[in-house]
C-alpha cells in the first residue's frame, strides 16, 4: 500500500546507507568520496523529513508505516514507523541538527587520516540513523534498537582517539552507565509487551495504564530510570562530563539532538503512562529540578568550555524533566527543540574557536575570540544568550519561561520547584556568559580569520535559528496538543530578570580577580561534588576486587566454582584409588608374569643344540609313552 507515510522509511535510510557504505563496505574510498557520502547521508534525511513535517502540519498527522508483522506464540510483533506531532517535531529537529553537525565535521575533521575519517563519519551517520529510528519508532522494538545503537555509537565516538587511554576509559564509562539505563528500559518494554501482547506503542501505553498498580508503578519507574541514565541525570550523570574526550562535533550531536536528549523524548513518548503514576511523576519533577540546579551550579565552576557545556546539557535536560514531571510534555519538547538548536550552536562555535587555539578547550582559549574569530564568537554569544534566556528575543526565554510557569502553577509543591528552577536559571546565565566575557578580553594584536564554508554555514544557520524559532515556541506547544502556561505577570517579570542577574554575576566572576580565583579553586564543585569518586569506591572497586579474586589474581584459586569438580575428583583419587594402587590381585598376576620369565630362562638350558641329546630326549620320551601305554593295559 502506497501512502505518504512510506516516506518514513526513507528518513533513517540514507544515514544508515552511508554507515554501511563507510563502515562495512569493502570499497576503497578517497577523502572526497568519504565526505560526499557522509554529507549526502546526513542531508537526505532532512530533505525527506521536512515535507513529511509540512504534510503533518497541513492535515492528518497520525500515520503508521508497518515494516513487518510476525507472531511469537500468542503475541504480535508488528514493527512500524509512526508519524505524529511528537515524532514530526522531534524528527525535523534531529534531521536538521544532524545535517548541520555532520556538514560542520567536514571542515573540523579535515586533518584526520582517511581511515579514521571514514570511521568517524560512518559512526556519526549511524548515530543519526539510530536517533531517527528511535524518534519515528511506532513500536518498542525499533525504539529500543535506536536507543541501544546510540549507546554503541557513543562508545565508539567518545573513544574516537583510540590511542588515548583517557578517551577509551570515558567511552567505557559512558557505555556501561547508559547500558544500565538500557537494561531498565528493556525491562520496562518487555513488561509492557507482556501486558499488551503487542509491541506497537499505540497498544503498549493503554495496556500499561490498564495494568495493576504495582506493575504500572514498576514500569513507569523503570522507564524513568532508563531516561535518567541516557540523559545523564542525577544520579547517573557522571558519564557525560568525561565524554568530552571525543571530538567536538560528536559532543554537539550527542548533547543537542540525540542520545542525551533521547531520555526526554522517551518520557514524552510515554507521557500518558507516566502521568498515570503520580509518585513517579513527582520523582521526575524533583530529580529534574535537582539536576537542573546541580548541573548549573557545577557548570559555573568549570574551567573547560566543553565540560561547562556538558554540565549545561545535564542542567537543561533537568529542566525538560521538570516539565515532564509536571505533566507538560509539550513544554518539554518545545524546550527540547530550542535546546537542540542552541546547544549544537554553542558546541560548534566553541569547537571552531578552540580549534584555532591549538586544541586546548580551556575557557582561557576563548580569550580574544571576538577579534580572532568574529563569526564563531558572535554565534557563540547568540547561543549563550538563548541558553541564558534573554527575554523576548531568544527562543530560550520562551521555552524556559514556560517551564518555570508550569512549576509556579503546580501548587505549593510547585513553588518550591519554581524556586529551585529559578536559582538554576540565574546560574545558567552566569555560566553561559563566562566564556562570552572571556572572549571579549583582547590579547595581543589578533588577525581576524574565517573558517571554511562547511564551518560557517551550519553555525550561521543555527545562530539565525536561535532567534527565528522564538516566535514558533508557542505554536509548537499548541501543535503538540498543549498550551503555553501563563503565570501572574509579577512571576514572569522575575523570570525575565533572572538572566540579567546571572549575566551580572558572570561579569563579576570574570572581571573581579578575587572572585575568579575562588572559582578556579573550587575543585569539589568542579568535579560534580565527586559523585564519580563515590561510585568508584562503592561499585567499581568492589567489582574489580571480585573479578581479581575470582580469577585468582589475588592469590586464590582461579575460577573457584569450576575447580570444585576437579578438586573433588582429586580427593576421590586420593581416598579411593590410591590404596588400591597396590592391588594384591594385580600383584599376583604380575608375579606370575615374572615367574614365567624365570621359568623360561631355566627351560632354555635344555636346548643344548647337540643331536645326541635330542635323540636321547626323543628316546626317553618314547620310552615314557610306551610305559604309559603299557600301564593302561593293566587291570
Amino acid at each position: 500500500m502506497l501512502t505518504p507515510f512510506l516516506a518514513l522509511l526513507l528518513v533513517p535510510a540514507p544515514a544508515m546507507g552511508a554507515f554501511l557504505l563507510l563502515g562495512l563496505g569493502p570499497a576503497e574510498l578517497n577523502r572526497r568520496a568519504v565526505q560526499t557520502v557522509a554529507l549526502v547521508g546526513a542531508v537526505l534525511p532532512a530533505v525527506v523529513m521536512l515535507p513529511l513535517g509540512a504534510y503533518c502540519l497541513m492535515g492528518t498527522c497520525d500515520g503508521i508505516q508497518p515494516i513487518f508483522d510476525l507472531t511469537v506464540g500468542d503475541a504480535v510483533v508488528a514493527l512500524a514507523l509512526k508519524l505524529d506531532p511528537l515524532s514530526a517535531i522531534v524528527g525535523v529537529t534531529v534531521t536538521l541538527i544532524g545535517a548541520c553537525v555532520i556538514g560542520y565535521s567536514i571542515d573540523y575533521m579535515a586533518k584526520a587520516e582517511v581511515p579514521d575519517l571514514r570511521r568517524y563519519f560512518a559512526l556519526m551517520n549511524l548515530f543519526l540513523a539510530s536517533m531517527l529510528c528511535m524518534v519515528l519508532a511506532g513500536d518498542s522494538i525499533v525504539l529500543f534498537l535506536g536507543w541501544e545503537l546510540m549507546g554503541l555509537c557513543s562508545f565508539f565516538l567518545i573513544a574516537y582517539h583510540v590511542t588515548s587511554s583517557r578517551a577509551i576509559a570515558a567511552g567505557r564509562k559512558a557505555f556501561v552507565i547508559t547500558r544500565v539505563a538500557d537494561a531498565f528500559l528493556l525491562a520496562a518494554l518487555l513488561l509492557l509487551f507482556l501486558e499488551a501482547g503487542n509491541v506497537r506503542l499505540d497498544a503498549l501505553i493503554p495496556a500499561g495504564i490498564a495494568a495493576d498498580e504495582l506493575r504500572q508503578g514498576l514500569i513507569a519507574a523503570l522507564i524513568l530510570a532508563g531516561a535518567l541514565g541516557k540523559s545523564a541525570q542525577l544520579p547517573f550523570h557522571t558519564w557525560l562530563p568525561s565524554a568530552m574526550a571525543g571530538p567536538t562535533p560528536v559532543s554537539a550531536l550527542l548533547h543537542s539532538a540525540t542520545m542525551v536528549a533521547a531520555g526526554a523524548f522517551l518520557l514524552a513518548r510515554f507521557a500518558p503512562l507516566m502521568q498515570a503514576v503520580p509518585l513517579v511523576m513527582a520523582l521526575t519533577a524533583v530529580l529534574g529540578a535537582a539536576t537542573a540546579l546541580f548541573g548549573a551550579a557545577s557548570a559555573v565552576f568549570q574551567k573547560d568550555v566543553k565540560r561547562l557545556l556538558a554540565y549545561s546539557s545535564i542542567s537543561q535536560i533537568g529542566f525538560m524533566l521538570l516539565a515532564l514531571g509536571l505533566g507538560e510534555p509539550e513544554v518539554a519538547i518545545a524546550h527540547f527543540v530550542v535546546h537542540a538548536i542552541f546547544k549544537s550552536l554553542l558546541f560548534l562555535s566553541a569547537g571552531d574557536i578552540t580549534q584555532i587555539a591549538r586544541g586546548t578547550t580551556d575557557i582561557s582559549a576563548m580569550r580574544g575570540a571576538l577579534w580572532s574569530r568574529p563569526l564563531a564568537f558572535v554565534a557563540f554569544a547568540a547561543g549563550a544568550a538563548s541558553l541564558a534566556g534573554i527575554p523576548l528575543v531568544t527562543a530560550g526565554w520562551f521555552s524556559k519561561e514556560a517551564i518555570l510557569a508550569a512549576a509556579w502553577l503546580a501548587g505549593p509543591f510547585g513553588v518550591v520547584l519554581w524556586l529551585v528552577a529559578m536559582t538554576a536559571a540565574v546560574l545558567t546565565a552566569t555560566y553561559a556568559f563566562r566564556p562570552v566575557f572571556t572572549g571579549l578580553t583582547r590579547i595581543g594584536r589578533p588577525r581576524p580569520s574565517l573558517g571554511g564554508i562547511f564551518t560557517n554555514l551550519p553555525i550561521a544557520l543555527l545562530a539565525v535559528a536561535t532567534f527565528a524559532v522564538a516566535p514558533l515556541v508557542e505554536p509548537i506547544m499548541e501543535f503538540l496538543g498543549g498550551a503555553a502556561p501563563h503565570p501572574p505577570h509579577a512571576v514572569e517579570l522575575v523570570g525575565a530578570a533572572a538572566p540579567f542577574l546571572g549575566i551580572a554575576l558572570a561579569a563579576a566572576l570574570t572581571f573581579v580577580p578575587g572572585l575568579s580565583l575562588r572559582v578556579a579553586r573550587a575543585r569539589r564543585m568542579r568535579s560534580g561534588i565527586r559523585i564519580d569518586g563515590i561510585y568508584q569506591v562503592i561499585i567499581v572497586q568492589p567489582f574489580v576486587k571480585m573479578v581479581r579474586w575470582l580469577t585468582g589474581q589475588r592469590g586464590g584459586i582461579a575460577d573457584p566454582v569450576g575447580s570444585i569438580p576437579v578438586l573433588v575428583a582429586q580427593r576421590l583419587t586420593a581416598a579411593a584409588i590410591r590404596p588400591l594402587a597396590h592391588d594384591p590381585l594385580d600383584r599376583g598376576w604380575m608375579g606370575l608374569g615374572a615367574g614365567m620369565v624365570r621359568a623360561w630362562g631355566a627351560g632354555r638350558r635344555i636346548q643344548s643344540g647337540r643331536v645326541r641329546d635330542y635323540a636321547l630326549a626323543l628316546a626317553l620320551g618314547l620310552a615314557l609313552l610306551l610305559l604309559i601305554a603299557w600301564g593302561t593295559t593293566w587291570r
Partner: protein, 101 residues
C-alpha cells in the same frame, strides 16, 4: 603267543636298543648313521616275525618298505656327512651346535 615270536620280538627290541645306544653314545657322525641302520633292523625284524606269525604277506611288504627307507636314509645321511666334513672339517656331531642360537 609262541616262543618263536617272543624270541624274535626280544631280538628286535635288542637290536633297536643297541642302535639307540650307539646313536646316543657315539659322537662320530658316521657311527651314528651306522647305529641308525642297526636301529632300523629291529622294527624290520619285528615286521617279518609278526607277518610270519599271522600268515600275512603284508609283514614282508613292510620289510621291503623299511629297506627302501633305510637305503634312502643312508644316502641322505652320508650326503650330510660329506657336507659337514667339508664345511666344519669335523666328523664330530657335538661341535655342530648352531641350533642353540
Amino acid at each position: 603267543m609262541s616262543g618263536f615270536l617272543t624270541a624274535a620280538l626280544v631280538l628286535a627290541a635288542g637290536l633297536f636298543a643297541v642302535g639307540l645306544f650307539g646313536l646316543v653314545a657315539r659322537r662320530g657322525v658316521l657311527f651314528q648313521i651306522i647305529a641308525l641302520e642297526i636301529m632300523l633292523t629291529g622294527p624290520a625284524l619285528a615286521f617279518v616275525a609278526a607277518g610270519a606269525h599271522h600268515g600275512d604277506p603284508a609283514g614282508q611288504g613292510m620289510f621291503v618298505f623299511v629297506l627302501v627307507l633305510a637305503a634312502s636314509e643312508v644316502a641322505l645321511g652320508l650326503a650330510l656327512y660329506l657336507r659337514l666334513a667339508r664345511h666344519a672339517d669335523a666328523g664330530d656331531s657335538d661341535t655342530i651346535r648352531e641350533l642353540r642360537r
